[in-house]
Amino acid sequence: MDKNNKVPKDLLVPMERKEDESEKISGPSRTFMQDARRTFFKNIVAMISVVLMLFIGIMSIFGPGMNEHGLDDQDLSRAKMPPYVSALKNIPWLGFDGTLKGKYRGADVEEATQNAYARYSNNDDFIDIKVLDEGDGTKDSAVVKAKYHVYEAKDMTDEYFWLGTDTLGRDQWTRLWLGTRVSLIIALVAAVIDLFIGVVYGGVSAYYGGRVDNVMQRILEILIGIPNLVVIVLMILILKPGITSIVLALTITGWTGMARIVRGEVLKLKEQEFILAARTLGTPDRRIIGKHLIPNISGIIIINTMFTIPSAIFFEAFLSFIGLGLVPPEASLGTLVNAGFENIRLYPYLLVFPAALISIIMIAFNLIGDGLRDAFDPKMHK
C-alpha cells in the first residue's frame, strides 16, 4: 500500500460543498399507472395483438360493405365457388385463383380422370388433368390431379368472391365479417355485464362483510357449484335462439368468477393500513370506495375482463357448433366454423377462414390479457 508517493498532496484539504448532494434522488419518479402503461406499451407481443384486434374490429364494421354481396344473397347457381381474388389469382399455391383442386384415383388414368370429371359436373373443358401416377391396373392405383376452373366454367370471370361462396351461394367474405361482428358483440356485451354484476356483488359482499357477506357467499358457492355448461345449454333451450339469449345464457353464471376475485381483493385491501387510516379520518364510504378501493382493484378487474372475452367467444362458437346458437341466415364465427366442418372434405376453404379468424381472435385476446397481467404486476416494472 505504498502508492502514497504519487498522491497530489495539494488536494489533501477539506472538500468544498456547493449544496447537499447526499439526498439527491436519481431517476425520475413515476406513478404505478404510468409504470403499468409503460410496461404494456413495451410488450411487443401484446401491442401486435392490440393492433390485430383493432384491425379485426374495424373489418367487422366495414368488411361486409367492401363488396356488393349481402349477408343472405342466396343463389344456388353460384354455390360453393372457391376463393377468387383478382390481384392474387396468378399465385396458385395461395388458393385465391378461383379453382377447385383434388386428387382422384382409379384403376388407370382414364378411370381416374372420369372420376374427376364426374366430381366436377362433367365440365371437362374447364378441368386441367395432371397425371401423378399411371397405375398398374389394380383398383385405385392411378392418381390424377384435377384443377377445375369454376369461374370460367360458370362464365363469371368478372365476379370475384374473395373468400368464395357457401353451399347456398352466399358471399363468404361478407358472412365472415358479419359473423365476426356478431361474435365480438356477444363477447363484449357478456363481458361488460359480467364485469358489472361481478364487481357490484363481490364489492358489496366484501365491503359490508358480516352477515351480508355470509349470505351472499353461500349463494355464490352454490352458483359456482353449478357447471356453467349445463346452465347455458338449458337456458338456450327455453329461450328463443338469438344474440340476446346467448348473452343472457353466458352471463347468468358468468359473473361469479369476477365476483369471487373482486371480493377477495377487497377483503385483502380492507385490512390494509391506508384504508383503516381513511376510515379513522372519517372518510365517507363512497369516497373510500371511489378513491381507494376501485383504483386498487382496477388492474385485476381489467385483466379478468380481458380473459372473459375470449371465453365468451369460445362459448358462443361452441353453442353454435352443437347447433344451439344462432339460426340461419344469421352468422357468427361459430356457425361458420360449423358449416365449414360439414364441407371439410370437398370445400376446405369454408372452414379455413372462420377457423383461422376465431383462433386469431382468441390468441390475441389471451396475449393482451397476459400483457396486462404483466403490466399490472409491480415485479415486472423495469
Binding site: V233, F314, F318, I322, I363
Partner: protein, 308 residues
C-alpha cells in the same frame, strides 16, 4: 377433516338438488310438447302416452314424483330413444367419455408438467419460448378447430388414424389429443410460472447451500412445491374437458355422454336432457370436491380447523 367433508357433501347435495329443480322446471317451460319426438301419434294415442308417462298430472305432483324417483336413482324413461331407461342410456355411454376424459387428463397433465419444467429450466431459452408458444396456442385455439385440423390431416389426408367412430384404441387417439391440448397447455403454463418462482425462493438457496445437486434441487425441492398449486387449476381443467367432450365426441362420432347430450337436445327429449344434465352436474361437483380434498392432503400447510 370429517366435519369439513360433511359440510362439503351437504353443499354438494344442495347444489345437485337445485340443479335438479331448475332443470325440471326449465324442461316444463320448454316450448312445444315433450312428445315432439313422437309427432306421428294421433290425439288418442297421445293421450294414452301422456297418461303412461303421468304427464297429465299437475306439475307439482310430477315434481315430487321426479324427486322421489331421483332419490332412488331412477331417471325415468326416454321418450325418444326407444323408451329405454335414461339411467341405462347413461351407463352405456359413460364408458367412452370416461376413457377419453381420463386419457386426456392424464397424458395432458403429465406432458404439460414436462413442458413447463423444461421451459422453466431453460428460462428465456429457445425451449422456453417454444413451450410458451405451445401453451398460448393450446389455451387459445378452440378445441373444435383443433379437432378439425387433426381429423383433416392425420386421418383424411395421411390416413394415420380412423377418421371417426369408436372401437379400437386407435379410435381414441385423435379425440384424446384434441381433448388433451387444453390441460396440456394449462399445466405447462402453470408449471413454468410456479417452477420459476419456486426456484427463486429462499429455501432453494438453502438446499443449494447444503450442496444438493441440480437434479435434487429441481425434483426433490422444486417440483413438489411447484405442483401443489397446480391442483387448483385441475378444477377448471376438468370442467373444460367436460365441455370439450360435447364437441369432440360430435366431431369424431364417439358414442359418449357428450354426444348423447347433444343428440337429446336435438331431438328434444326431456328425460335424457335432464339425466345428462344431472350426470354432468354430479361429475362436476364431485371432481371439485375431490380436487379440494387432494389439495388438503398434499399440502402440509393447510390445516383444517373447525368449519373453515
Amino acid at each position: 377433516m370429517a366435519r369439513y367433508l360433511l359440510k362439503r357433501v351437504i353443499y354438494m347435495l344442495i347444489t345437485l338438488f337445485i340443479i335438479a329443480t331448475i332443470s325440471f322446471f326449465l324442461m316444463k317451460m320448454l316450448p312445444g310438447s315433450p312428445l315432439s319426438a313422437a309427432d306421428k301419434l294421433s290425439p288418442e294415442q297421445r293421450e294414452v302416452v301422456m297418461d303412461k308417462y303421468n304427464l297429465n298430472d299437475p306439475v307439482p305432483v310430477q315434481y315430487v314424483r321426479y324427486l322421489a324417483n331421483l332419490a332412488q336413482g331412477d331417471l325415468g324413461l326416454s321418450f325418444a330413444f326407444d323408451n329405454t331407461p335414461v339411467s341405462k342410456i347413461l351407463m352405456d355411454r359413460i364408458g367412452p367419455s370416461a376413457q377419453l376424459g381420463a386419457q386426456a387428463l392424464i397424458f395432458g397433465t403429465i406432458l404439460g408438467i414436462l413442458f413447463g419444467l423444461i421451459a422453466a429450466i431453460s428460462h428465456n431459452g429457445v425451449l422456453d419460448y417454444t413451450s410458451t408458444i405451445i401453451a398460448v396456442l393450446g389455451t387459445s385455439i378452440p378445441s373444435f378447430v383443433f379437432a378439425g385440423l387433426l381429423q383433416k390431416f392425420l386421418a383424411v389426408e395421411w390416413d394415420l388414424f380412423p377418421v371417426a367412430l369408436w372401437g379400437s384404441f386407435s379410435h381414441t387417439i385423435l379425440p384424446t389429443i384434441a381433448l388433451m391440448i387444453f390441460p396440456l397447455a394449462t399445466a405447462a403454463r402453470f408449471t413454468r410460472t410456479e417452477m420459476i418462482e419456486v426456484l427463486g425462493s429462499d429455501f432453494i438457496e438453502t438446499a443449494r447451500a447444503k450442496g444438493i445437486s441440480e437434479y435434487g434441487i429441481i425434483f426433490k425441492h422444486g417440483l413438489r412445491n411447484a405442483l401443489i398449486p397446480l391442483v387448483t387449476v385441475m378444477g377448471p381443467m376438468a370442467v373444460s374437458l367436460m365441455t370439450g367432450t360435447l364437441v369432440i365426441e360430435q366431431i369424431f362420432a364417439v358414442p359418449g355422454i357428450g354426444k348423447q347430450f347433444v343428440d337429446s337436445v336435438m331431438v328434444n327429449d326431456p328425460p335424457t336432457i335432464m339425466g345428462t344434465t344431472l350426470l354432468f352436474a354430479f361429475l362436476f361437483v364431485a371432481i371439485i370436491l375431490i380436487i379440494d380434498l387432494l389439495y388438503v392432503i398434499i399440502d402440509p400447510r393447510i390445516r383444517l380447523s373447525g368449519g373453515k
